[in-house]
């Protein structure tokens, strides 16, 4: 029998561990990754000619980052690695790729989607000004290019990444004006039982807050963002917000890093026809999978933050677990004891992630409260008022129908950054549960492609 073809999409923590499991089983998987280098976003590698050591780049996770990179380096001869390659569609049992002007359709026996996450954004008036960046983007700037996104930076939103990136900026010598968290401090206390699933990670989080306090950075909890103040020419000039006690305040800055934790990149799972289910805790639609990562479609497996936001440590375990499931389904021998142990690890990470979701909740009410003149879709400048008017005129209450009429979700980012907030706004306006609004369907190509007509 010919060797089964396993395709792994993504070379972050889950993709790397999945590839490692395949190679150990004697299979040479195809690993397709959009990045120039492996590591994904969380363990993103700096360019070759940069010299900062692991401890400086990855802090408490330095050992994990280094181990993952070394694993990938050692695998390179044993895998078919295709960096800087976009998977833009999955159809007819094939993965469709584009790299530069080259394109290919590759059939597979097993497909492991390790697609990772992007920032989850709650729009705020003025977030279209130059100098506003996603929180993850602000971390990429520092980690992979050694720059700060501005001369004076405000971190606004919620989630563990808010504190991590702000403290990384402080330690790198950037001027951090404030950390403004929309989550009330009391939410953390309620989440404590679940957060205790991983005491060392919880302690790392506490230490980050101490770093910020020692540096004299203003940290506020329970804030309500009102507006990013700015100018169409020079960009961001400050942020206006309400404190937990309801007082309005303004902080001057020339850059804002904003985000509310993360959202999985599920478009490829959608194009592979995987079933989705609504997750009430995070208020997101997620692809369904069994405990080992099998999707509802035979031969498709889901792992890491691309399936559900459980963090980088969980991604390593779920990547390996999904690969073992794929290998078992292909009739290859798999250590059942290891499978059971990985399931236990993932369950513990899931408990911790549930704690994080409770401690740093998605402020759905802020979408409902967006003023009519606030930009909701920053790709095409569609305002909250535009979407509300479309709903009144057309009666559209379903995500894809509202998109068709308003263009919210149809621009360059294809709904990645406005889609979740738009659904909340529609739900509030129509007075119905957000799950009834549905979810934006994945569309191929999942990112814009170059149309190139050559002489060949």
């Amino acid at each position: 029998m010919a060797e089964p073809r396993i395709i792994i999409v993504g070379a972050g923590p889950s993709g790397t561990r999945a590839a490692q499991a395949c190679v150990a089983a004697g299979i040479r998987p195809i690993v397709i990754d959009e990045g120039r280098r492996d590591g994904g976003q969380i363990y993103r590698r700096q360019p070759d000619n940069f010299t900062r050591p692991y401890a400086k780049l990855y802090g408490t996770e330095a050992g994990r980052a280094q181990a993952l990179h070394e694993t990938f380096d050692a695998l390179k001869g044993a895998i078919d690695y295709r960096p800087e390659t976009l998977v833009w569609n999955i159809a007819a049992g094939q993965v469709w790729t584009a790299s530069g002007t080259a394109q290919e359709a590759i059939p597979f026996d097993a497909l492991l989607l390790c697609t990772g996450a992007t920032d989850r954004l709650m729009p705020v008036k003025g977030w279209n000004y130059a100098g506003t960046y996603s929180l993850g983007g602000s971390q990429v700037a520092l980690k992979s290019q050694a720059v700060s996104i501005g001369h004076k930076v405000v971190f606004m939103g919620s989630g563990p990444l808010l504190y991590l990136v702000a403290s990384q900026y402080v330690e790198a010598g950037a001027d951090v004006a404030a950390v403004l968290d929309t989550a009330p401090f009391s939410a953390r206390l309620k989440a404590l039982p679940d957060l205790l699933a991983m005491p060392s990670v919880l302690w790392n989080g506490v230490a980050l807050t101490q770093t910020l306090k020692r540096a004299g950075v203003t940290v506020q909890h329970g804030v309500t963002p009102v507006e990013i103040i700015g100018d169409v020419e020079s960009g961001v000039g400050g942020v206006r917000f309400r404190t937990a006690s309801g007082r309005e305040d303004t902080i001057a800055c020339d850059a804002v890093a904003m985000g509310h934790h993360l959202r999985p990149e599920t478009q490829l799972a959608d194009l592979a026809r995987c079933a989705f289910a609504f997750d009430p805790l995070t208020r997101q639609w997620l692809p369904e999978r069994d405990g080992d990562g099998r999707a509802s479609v035979a031969g498709v497996y889901l792992a890491g933050d691309g399936a559900k936001i459980l963090g980088a440590r969980s991604a390593e375990a779920s990547g390996r677990l999904a690969a073992l499931a794929a290998l078992a389904d292909l009739g290859l021998p798999v250590d059942k004891g290891e499978t059971a142990s990985l399931r236990g690890d993932v369950a513990n990470y899931a408990k911790f992630a549930r704690g994080l979701a409770q401690a740093f909740p998605w402020p759905a009410q802020q979408a409902a409260a967006l003023p009519d003149d606030a930009i909701l879709c920053r790709c095409e400048g569609v305002t909250a008022g535009n979407l509300r008017a479309v709903m009144r005129e057309t009666g559209a209450k379903e995500a894809n129908r509202a998109k068709a009429f308003s263009r919210v979700g149809m621009g360059r980012c294809q709904g990645r950054y406005c889609g979740l907030a738009a659904a909340e706004l529609i739900a509030a306006e129509a007075d119905m549960p957000v799950e009834q609004v549905g979810r934006l369907r994945g569309q191929a190509p999942v990112k814009p492609l170059t149309i190139s007509i050559g002489d060949e």
Binding site: E34, R36, Q41, Q46, P47, D48, N49, F50, T51, R52, T118, D119, N128, Y129, A130, G131, T132, Y133, S134, G136, G137, S138, V140, A141, L142, Q145, A146, V147, S148, I149, G150, H151, A172, G173, A174, G230, V232, E233, S234, G235, D254, A255, E265, I375, R378, C379, E380, G381, R412, C413, R416, Y417, K447, P448, T450
Partner: protein, 101 residues
């Protein structure tokens, strides 16, 4: 005034390129985005509003940072490295189409 601030790794060879016809200096290993925003405060004009734009996600997901080569190739500034002698445009060079008139 620059938008980005370099916090380290500045001991790299410099690279000369042109942006909208004007020369700028970058460092080897810079992305186009870091090169342009270390030399200035914007990447482009929004095509749907009055404001300037300077990118957003830095991980190839939002497409807010498109720039062009003089021959019309579109580049994602956040994920394209600088190269000596590059000539970058921050607005799309005009395409010419055959006309029936």
């Amino acid at each position: 005034m620059s938008r980005f601030v370099r916090l380290g790794e500045t001991d790299r060879p410099s690279v000369a390129l042109h942006v909208d016809g004007a020369p700028i200096q970058a460092l080897e290993g810079d992305t186009l985005m870091v090169a342009l925003l270390s030399a200035g405060d914007r990447l482009r004009q929004s095509e749907f509003g009055p404001e300037k734009r300077a990118g957003f996600c830095l991980m190839g997901a939002c497409q807010d940072c498109w720039v062009w080569t003089e021959s019309g190739d579109r580049l994602r500034a956040c994920s394209t490295l600088v190269a000596p002698g590059q000539r970058i445009l921050t607005s799309q060079p005009e395409a010419s189409w055959p006309s029936h008139v």
